[in-house]
Amino acid sequence: MTQARTLHVRCSTWEQVDVFTTRKLRKGKLLSMKVPFETTIGSRVTLGLELPNQLVVAIDGVVQRASPIAVEPGKVETTARTWIEIELTGLTDDVMARIRTMASEESEQHTPPIGGTPMVRRKTAPVVDDLPADEKALFQHLSGELRRLRSAAVHDVLGVANDADAAQVRTSWKNLVRRHHPDLVARRNAPAISHLAEELTILSNRAYDRLRAALVAEGRGTIVGPTLSSPAGWLVGFDDIASGDGTISPRASQPRLQHVPDATPKPRTSPTLPPAQIHGGEAFEQRARVMLGQGQAQNAREVLAAALVVYPRSKSLRSLYYVATAVVALQDGEVMLATSQLENALAHHESCVEAAMLLDHVKKFGADRNEDLMRIFL
């Protein structure tokens, strides 16, 4: 009988804690790791998870699998090495909830980390309180900007009028980059600030590339700067470029990459759709409502799904997505699914009128009289 060993996992940032709990663990409690000792299946180990706030959470576990690592020929290993897989029996939902609460309290002001494959250099995010005053102010300023620009339409991101010409677009993009480029804050050695700056630059660059493509497509003068080939794929987020719709949409003959259910070719625009000049998430909402009113719930759902990519924080878009899903379910006669989707919609956005009305309708008629549903959206 081997004694219970303790393994320490040190997380110096909340980002790492997040990575540990969401990505390192399989099925929520299986952890594979390399340990410098020999062990057998069934032995007990305790995992000490060291959190950035100096707390250590002890989590019991049992070794489920163990395989010694072959020593490379010609190299003398002084210590035995074993790959083990531990089932963290002590990692109950309670413990997880506690860690999550701490993490969300501590990292509230951080924007969600951009995750990635192991290719990503993991940067350690500093605790905001440790930043000197001017950095803190900078951080707040940048995150405020990011929040504002994330939900803005392309023209607003660049701060130009809707009919701005190529030169204006270029000037304002350049000014934005001059203000936010991550290189300008590199000397601060503050990863959180660099990250915000990078995100802001990504936003401006994307807006610029989109507008540029639209202007070129429109034939409004040659553009100064690199020419772009038209990007294919889901660019619905920037449909509000008046000219963008027909010209930067994917080549119709090509098979589409994303396999959204029943992605049958459908008209991307129809005369009844709202004018494209409306900016922000609202355009999508209106468009989706029109589609729902026309009984094209499936299409509406796709449009909303795409819109959510661009406006992930929009409650009304999210609730409308659930409503559209519910309508699709109703068309298939799945009342239970529809009900749960509508409840979801209300949970996300209490004042979602459509969801409330639909829910009433479903309670009264079930999956019958679906033709009445469309009227709700008109």
């Binding site: 969401t22 990505r23 399989r26 099925k27 951009i114 995750g115 990635g116 494959t117 192991p118 290719m119 990503v120 350049k174 980059v177 001059r178 480029h181 991550p182 290189d183 300008l184 590199a186 000397r187 990078e198 630059t201 990504i202 660059n205 994307r206 610029y208 590339d209 040659t222 553009i223 100064v224 700067g225 690199p226 020419t227 772009l228 080939s229 038209s230 990007p231 294919a232 794929g233 889901w234 994917p250 090509q254 098979p255 589409r256 990459l257 994303q258 396999h259 959204v260 259910p261 029943d262 799904a305 795409a306 959510l308 990519v309 992930p312 999210r318 997505y321």
Partner: protein
């Protein structure tokens, strides 16, 4: 307190520079007193020898002396250019399990080009440490502008093997413009032609109030001074056969001697109309008697031999101008960088293509490293008001199992940038979705470079099509690709698994880094 340096990791020669205490950029000299160090590693019986000292290996054991490792870095073994190159190299290339190109040593060991470059970088790092008397842990490393994501990652891996953190991968033409002092002069529209030992780079760079904007980059990864050397050798071998009646094609040592002499002659011919090529002992006759080889080489001969190569300069230049949406008359200054631009034929060709005389830099070999050192200063805030804006040299595409590749990020997009794609499950309770990433914009996968296959795993159980996975592709300022996946509707982050990935694994890199660090001890 550790310092950062700027490194021009060249195909044939590497240069290291830093910013002096008085703020001036300075090229460091090697032990031998030269400003450039040959990018050579000789795997001698007593361990690896790097730089000038490794030249001895070219004579003794050409099959264990690796040059031009930069050309092999991050490239697939089955690439036609690599196949072509493999036939001409004195050492043997082999295919790594993941399809990368590795070097097979005579001793039976296969080594990754990352390791070779890592050793070169380590040697440069030691040069800097000897000069500074303090440790050097980070660097700006220059790379050809057309490097794809795998090659960029491989360069970063090489730096990690050498114990260096990469502050920035800077494209060589941008570094050249920076090193030329373009940020101090008037606003100009540049075309930078960088013809080095092994690669040719073209970039259209605008400098406007301290903002360097790369509008387009193109290049030819297999065109450089080494190819000129090879052309000379081919012709001389024919000449030897005719004049002496011996065939030295398969005599690696004789070819190596010829290469050194050809290089010297080529350099002399940049300034003179004729040069004398002398090799006291080229090869041995079966009787054991040495064969002497002397010959006068004229410049017009050299130009004739090199003309197929010189003609290849035009296409990338024209393409770069086209991509930048610029006519050649609009270019205000043509910068020539890289040792091979000293060749009069090259200058003439570029002048012909551009319709204007290019600027002659006094130090075309060093200007890139100076640019890298200035970049270090720029990043730490010593130089203010200068900003570099770069574009993606190539587009990125994505494909799922059966579909064609579909473009995600367009060529010439300004970096950093990010795009997303939606993937949906196609069967009920589908646990994972696999997809491939490609570099290139062709719908046909065979026209693109495979970067890797990834899987989004542990998907929530749901009917087909209900799980929508949002895959975000970020191309950062270094031109390195990052991926992340999340469930669209809930916004929950999903696990991405690497099934196949070009280049070394993290574990291999750290193992090599440890191994290389042990050589020091």
């Amino acid at each position: 307190m550790s310092r950062a340096v700027g490194i021009d990791l060249g195909t044939t020669n590497s240069v290291i520079a830093l910013i002096d205490k008085d703020g001036a950029p300075r090229i460091l000299t090697t032990q031998e007193g030269s400003t450039t160090m040959p990018s050579l590693v000789w795997y001698s019986p007593r361990g690896p020898v790097v730089g000038e000292a490794a030249r001895a290996g070219l004579d003794h054991s050409p099959d264990c002396t690796i040059f031009g490792a930069k050309r092999l870095l991050g490239r697939r073994f089955d690439h036609p250019e690599i196949r072509r190159l493999a036939r001409t190299l004195p050492f043997e290339l082999t295919e790594a399990p993941n399809g990368d190109t590795w070097v097979q040593l005579a001793a039976g060991r296969a080594i990754a080009p990352e390791e070779v470059c890592g050793l070169i970088l380590r040697e440069l790092r030691r040069t800097a440490e000897a000069f500074l008397h303090e440790s050097v842990t980070s660097a700006v490393i220059t790379i050809p502008a057309w490097y794809d994501a795998a090659q960029r990652q491989a360069t970063k891996d090489a730096a990690q093997i050498a114990g260096l953190t990469v502050l920035r991968l800077l494209s060589e033409p941008t570094a050249a413009a920076l090193g030329h002092g373009a940020h101090r002069g008037a606003d100009r529209r540049f075309l930078v032609c960088d013809l080095g030992g092994g690669t040719f780079d073209v970039a259209v760079v605008d400098v406007d109030a301290g903002v360097f904007e790369v509008l387009a980059t193109t290049g030819d990864p297999f065109l450089g001074g080494d190819d000129v050397d090879r052309a000379i050798i081919e012709n001389l071998v024919r000449d030897v056969r005719q004049a002496r009646g011996i065939d030295i094609t398969s005599d690696a040592i004789a070819i190596e001697r010829l290469r050194l002499a050809a290089q010297r002659t080529k350099h002399e011919l940049s300034d003179a109309a004729t040069a004398k090529l002398q090799i006291s002992e080229l090869a041995q006759l079966p009787s054991g008697r040495g064969v002497e080889y002397n010959r006068i080489v004229r410049r017009d001969e050299l130009e004739l031999w090199a003309s197929p190569l010189v003609r290849r300069i035009e296409a990338p230049v024209v393409e770069a101008l086209e991509r930048a949406g610029r006519r050649r008359e609009e270019v205000e200054e043509v910068l020539l960088v890289g040792g091979s631009t000293r060749m009069p034929a090259v200058r003439k060709e570029i002048a012909r293509v551009m319709g204007q005389e290019p600027s002659a830099l006094p130090n075309p070999e060093e200007v890139v490293a100076i640019g890298a050192a200035l970049e270090v200063a720029r990043l730490d805030g010593t130089i203010e008001g200068v900003l570099l804006i770069d574009v993606a040299a190539r587009g990125l595409s994505m494909s799922t199992l059966e579909s064609e590749c579909e473009m995600v990020i367009a060529q010439s997009s300004i970096v950093p940038t990010r795009e997303h794609r939606l993937l949906a499950t196609r069967s009920d309770n589908q646990p994972r979705i696999e997809f491939d990433m490609w570099e290139g914009e062709s719908p046909d996968p065979s026209g693109n470079r495979h970067l890797g296959r990834y899987a989004v795993v542990d998907l929530p159980l749901a009917p087909a099509g209900d799980v929508l996975v949002l895959v975000e592709v970020t191309l950062d300022t270094d031109g390195v690709v990052r991926l992340s996946a999340s469930e669209l509707v809930s916004g929950e982050r999903l696990t991405l698994e690497q099934i196949f990935h070009a280049g070394l694994t993290r574990a291999e890199v750290s193992r090599l880094a440890k191994q290389v660090a042990e050589i020091d001890a």
